[in-house]
């Protein structure tokens, strides 16, 4: 018997890259007054500036956020051996939201808060908050060695930090309005500097995740079998949590709470190919990029010249997809 070549993963990745390029062209052309050929728009100075300064970084940024969410979703589902695991499970989103709420609440009242906000910027603070949420989860779980304890701690941190954020927004209706775009997920503010941050996060986390792909494969057989195969589970889990925290933290800091992309991307890949984690991680990342890029174009086009919050779109479409999956008993 010949060794399986996993050819289908290569085909899936090829199709996803082609889709990404096609969506890139669509994204460059999609404006408030409908779709314009981006190649023709290049001739006009103003159009070229809009293309280069607004649409290009937004389109690329949306793809990178989706790619990070798809990657972290695949890592989370492998780490927790749970098909419903998603990138925000360890408290990154609730940490980012609370950090943002705190600084926005106090920045007008306290010199320290204003100084912190000025030094880190909104996305920097959200990133620090996301990492802080994961660190709190790890502290409560006493490390990453016990999967169920880690999962439960993540849920507790998510609920408690979410409640604190809600409390702050109840006190200040102005805060809710300010944070709305973050809470609903937004790709409209992604610029070139955000793209650089997202690209660095993707370039760091994808190879690290690939180095741990065999560990994720072994974990599918259960913790004890993985240990019996000589896997140092403590170190491996800590590294996987780091990948999860960095990728989800970078995505949530730049684009807010984008729902369902991280959950759905690995499932969509698994539907089309049986693969080990090395193939799944790459394909799920590409799939996440395509999903969010597609949602971003749709959000701009659906009710133009108005725009839908992209997070709402991914939540509605993702929720419908999950219901469909449940109906087909595929989950």
């Amino acid at each position: 018997m010949r060794r399986p070549a996993h050819g289908s993963v290569v085909v899936v990745c090829g199709v996803l890259i082609a889709l990404s390029v096609a969506l890139c062209v669509l994204g460059l052309g999609a404006g408030s007054s409908g779709w314009h050929n981006p190649f023709a728009a290049w001739q006009d100075v103003t159009e070229r500036q809009i293309l280069l300064e607004i649409r290009a970084p937004r389109t690329l940024g949306a793809w990178l956020v989706g790619a990070l969410l798809g990657l972290s979703g695949a890592v989370a589902q492998g780490l927790f051996r749970n098909p419903l695991a998603e990138p925000y499970l360890l408290g990154s989103s609730s940490g980012a939201t609370l950090a943002l709420a705190m600084v926005l609440s106090f920045s007008g009242q306290s010199a320290l808060a204003s100084s912190i906000a000025g030094r880190f910027g909104v996305t920097g603070l959200a990133f620090v908050g996301a990492l802080g949420g994961v660190a709190l989860t790890l502290f409560i779980a006493r490390g990453a060695s016990h999967t169920l304890r880690l999962l439960l701690s993540g849920v507790v941190v998510g609920v408690v930090l979410g409640a604190l954020t809600s409390l702050m927004t109840v006190w200040s209706s102005e805060l809710w309005r300010t944070m709305q775009s973050f809470m609903l997920g937004n790709t409209g503010l992604l610029g070139w500097s955000a793209c650089v941050v997202l690209l660095v996060a993707w370039v760091l986390t994808l190879p690290l995740a690939l180095l741990l792909a065999r560990v994720l494969d072994a974990l599918t057989l259960g913790d004890e079998t993985a240990r019996s195969l000589g896997i140092p589970l403590g170190w491996a889990r800590a590294a996987l949590v780091m990948v999860l925290a960095l990728s989800a933290g970078a995505a949530v800091a730049q684009a807010g709470l984008i729902a369902f992309v991280g959950l759905a991307a690995p499932h969509l890949v698994r539907r089309h190919t049986q693969t080990r984690h090395s193939g799944l991680l790459v394909a799920a990342s590409l799939m996440g990029g395509v999903l969010l890029q597609g949602a971003d174009v749709l959000a701009r086009w659906a009710i133009a010249p108005e725009e839908l919050p992209v997070g709402v779109l991914t939540a509605v479409l993702g929720g419908a997809y999950l219901l469909w999956l449940m109906h087909r008993r595929a989950v």
Partner: protein, 262 residues
């Protein structure tokens, strides 16, 4: 150390284990020799699986020690231990979409460097192919595990354990879900593995299969009651006793069989 334990590939000395305040293993001494198949039998809750987990270095005993080639288990590095001892769990995960081939290939992880990062060699490929052939899984190699029957999945996991090529095989209920032809195949494979110089230890509930092993260890309530060859009358009486005389060990032609007493 007794001479029996000193010559053993894997030995257990004065081993006790607790879950909370409950003692699940009490003062067990057992030696597993190269070239022998040892079957561990006993009623539910006797501590058989816990004993196997301690022997695999997956559970720290509260007292006593496990020696692998005369060296205490904690002194072995995780990867070196994984190359020497292969363990098959009683309850493996059954919802993975990985193919049978990829699952069996995980058995070669201990030979592929830190975190399995080294490339697969020809030796790895040969070990995978042999394990698939031994378990009659070659035809199903490209099918995902979650699309297989219980018996086929069991054979895939068994192939994963065989692919390690370890000197000690610790198998917890390797015959679970297997039909008669594949139980016979399993018996032949375990005998062959032992004949090749490995120490094979299996927990089995099918006593007729256990009576095909070279030696038997009889357990009840966390204690080891008897150890001996399959022809040993003391072992036969211990089996009848721990199963509350619900069966009798009888000889049929040249084989020992467990016959239910109705």
């Amino acid at each position: 150390m007794s001479s029996d334990a000193a010559s053993a590939l894997l030995s257990v000395q004065g081993l006790s284990a607790h879950f909370g305040h409950t003692a699940v293993l009490q003062n067990i001494d057992l030696a597993c020799h190269a070239g022998q198949w040892l079957a561990v039998v006993g009623p539910n809750g006797a501590g058989k699986s816990t004993l196997l987990r301690c022997m695999a270095g997956l559970l720290m005993p509260s007292r006593g020690q496990v020696l692998l080639e005369g060296v205490a288990m904690p002194h072995w590095s995780a990867s070196a231990r994984a190359r020497q001892v292969s363990w098959l769990s009683q309850q493996a995960q059954d919802d993975t979409p990985m193919t049978v081939y990829d699952t069996v290939a995980l058995g070669r992880l201990p030979h592929q460097g830190w975190m399995g990062l080294s490339a697969r060699t020809m030796l790895d490929e040969q070990a995978i192919q042999t394990a698939l052939t031994d378990t009659d899984m070659t035809q199903s190699a490209l099918r995902p595990l979650n699309a297989l029957s219980g018996g086929e999945r069991q054979r895939a996991w068994l192939a994963r354990a065989l692919a390690v090529h370890a000197s000690v095989l610790l198998l917890d209920e390797p015959n679970a879900h297997l039909d008669a032809p594949h139980q016979r195949l399993l018996t032949r494979v375990l005998r062959r593995e032992a004949a090749q110089g490995r120490a094979v230890v299996s927990v089995v509930h099918d006593l007729s299969l256990a009576l095909a092993a070279d030696r038997l260890a009889v357990m009840a309530q966390g204690r080891l009651l008897a150890v001996g060859t399959r022809d040993d009358q003391v072992v036969h009486r211990a089996i009848e006793q721990v199963f509350d005389q619900a069966l009798a060990i009888v000889q049929v032609q040249d084989r020992w069989m467990a016959v239910p007493q109705i």
